[in-house]
């Protein structure tokens, strides 16, 4: 090893100032996260609605959900006031609320008191003003950056109980500018076979169409038999 080679690779490093610190929870969740944040399924809460009308049937004999639903969407953050709040939730085909998968933390944690125009359709469907602390923690997440995103529904309701096979409705509501909103609605079949769908869009009011594209490309896929459980996983390490 020669001095020349050392100089090629090892730079002179000049450091000033003090490095700040952050906990893993602050980094990953964007906020301080206490015990119970991952309390999904929620341990307690209002009684679940009867889902029989959604399509009949029941979860498998082990009480497990029949698979996994992935909801994909593209978010484009808008540099406008009172925008970028979104919520994603599931209803049964009869319009009964099943579960919230994602809600921007400002609105999920009571921001609607200051901004009543924040996600009113979702708040009404979920009766969010009466949501339990555990429900709020499970659904609340920091505002997402622009880009492609996915959320997953494991086929359980707000109480963590598997839903029976049937057709379910997924919705994404977003605030585009103040009270101008966009609402995507699609149906996904949960059962023994794979299913995919694209959501249709409504602008609320119609003039919201001219306020920018906050969300697009909303679609869902049902993956039968997929679960997020730790069953007999083998992963391989092979050099990265």
């Amino acid at each position: 090893m020669t001095d020349r080679n050392v100089r090629v690779v090892v730079p002179i490093v000049v450091i000033s100032g003090v490095a700040a610190a952050a906990t893993a929870a602050q980094l990953v969740y964007g906020q301080v996260s206490g015990p119970g944040v991952a309390a999904a399924p929620v341990a307690s809460g209002p009684s679940a609605p009867p889902y029989g009308a959604a399509g009949g049937g029941r979860a498998d004999t082990a009480g497990r959900p029949p698979g996994l639903v992935r909801i994909d969407y593209r978010l484009t953050r808008l540099p406008t006031h009172a925008s970028n709040q979104i919520a994603i939730w599931i209803e049964d085909r009869a319009g009964r609320y099943v579960r919230t998968l994602f809600a921007t933390s400002f609105t999920a944690n009571g921001g609607y008191v200051r901004r009543p125009m924040s996600l009113p359709r979702w708040r009404e469907a979920a009766d969010w003003e009466n949501a339990t602390e555990a429900e709020i923690r499970a659904a609340s997440r920091p505002a997402q950056e622009s880009g492609e995103h996915s959320v997953y529904w494991d086929g359980t309701d707000r109480n963590g109980r598997p839903v029976p096979p049937g057709t379910y409705v997924y919705r994404i509501e977003g605030n585009v500018l103040w009270e101008n909103r966009v609402l995507f609605t699609g149906e996904i079949r949960v059962g023994e076979t794979a299913h995919e769908s694209r959501a249709r869009v409504e602008h609320l009011p119609a003039a919201a169409r001219d306020q920018g594209v906050l969300l697009d490309g909303v679609r869902a896929a049902f993956l039968p038999g997929e679960r997020l459980g730790p069953a007999r996983v083998t992963a391989y390490t092979r050099g990265s």
Binding site: V28, S33, L228, T237
Partner: protein, 303 residues
């Protein structure tokens, strides 16, 4: 080599990420976090903090960038320079200037470092002001936290989930992974792929523990290619020479409780070789386990 895995997969940071055994909302949060890390640290995009810093201009970087950079610099000091976050120019010179999957068919690089012209402006110099979040890289030097930050970010995600009460989970970023479980949860099984045969060189089941189990592997085989002069090149650079490591170790796997540390130590073992490497690691982290594979395919381990 693969078996059915229940989990969520997505291609992030140039590799397949698997998140398994955690609730769906948490899986989505982990993937969103790793996408954010990719946007911040990718040296393949001019808009990232790493890309802007590598432009040579004085730039303001994110808090996230500085956190990982500070940890990377601490490992550089702790390893006596066997690990370095300042090898971006060397990576470019050897031809690793794009996402590896996109490199196929491109002109290949050279192992030999260029001679310095010798003027003051030609000396590599790094200025980091943590208070003002300012970074300036002068001369022939660039920042590359690539593999390190992947392990660092996966560890942060696992720590956050464990702090939040998730009792069991696995986050696997292209074979560098963290898993954890309580006594009541089933064991995770981790296979170590042999670099020359593709068969399992070992399979381990980390015990239930208060600490996570982190496993990282560095390989001089997996991401390798022919250079412009016909020499075999790979992406594990020896910071002492600026060339791809040429020890007798073609693959090293390290088991630790922290994936960033495991990632660093696995690289150091490939740099040092199958004799000096394990001896060095036993001094730096006596609790770490390791498996090394030499040029002939022989496997030696301490677990």
């Amino acid at each position: 080599m693969t078996s059915p895995i229940d989990g969520v997969r997505e291609r992030i940071m140039g590799t397949e990420v698997l998140v398994a055994g955690v609730p769906p909302a948490e899986a989505a949060t982990v993937l969103a976090w790793l996408r954010r890390v990719e946007r911040t640290f990718s040296r393949f995009t001019a808009e990232s903090d790493a890309g802007r810093a590598n432009s040579g201009r004085p730039v303001t970087v994110s808090h996230l960038f500085l956190l990982a950079l500070a940890d990377g610099m601490a490992y550089a000091e702790a390893t006596g320079g066997l690990f370095s976050p300042w090898l971006a120019r060397e990576m470019e010179r050897i031809g690793y200037a794009d996402d590896f999957a996109a490199m196929e068919g491109r002109p290949r690089g050279s192992a030999e470092p260029a001679a310095l012209a010798g003027g003051p402006g030609d000396l590599p110099m790094v200025e980091v002001d943590f208070t003002r979040r300012a970074v300036r890289l002068r001369g022939p030097v660039g920042v590359d936290l690539g593999g390190f930050v992947k392990g660092w970010a996966v560890q942060k995600a696992a720590d956050a989930l464990r702090e939040a009460g998730v009792r069991s989970g696995l986050i696997d970023a292209g074979g560098d992974l963290v898993c954890w479980r309580g006594p009541a949860e089933p064991a995770w099984r981790i296979g170590v792929e042999h670099p020359l045969t593709g068969e399992p060189a070992a399979v381990i089941e980390p015990p239930a523990s208060d600490l996570p189990a982190a496993v990282a592997t560095s390989s001089a085989v997996r991401r390798s290619w022919d250079g412009a002069a016909g020499e075999r090149l790979h992406h594990i650079i020896d910071p002492r020479t600026g060339r791809p490591a040429d020890s007798d170790c073609v693959q090293a796997t390290v088991f630790s409780s922290d994936l960033a540390a495991a990632e660093v130590y696995a690289k150091c073992l490939v740099v040092l070789g199958t004799e000096e490497g394990p001896a060095w690691l036993s001094e730096h982290d006596p609790d770490a386990g390791w498996i090394v594979v030499d040029l002939d395919g022989a496997v030696v381990s301490r677990r």
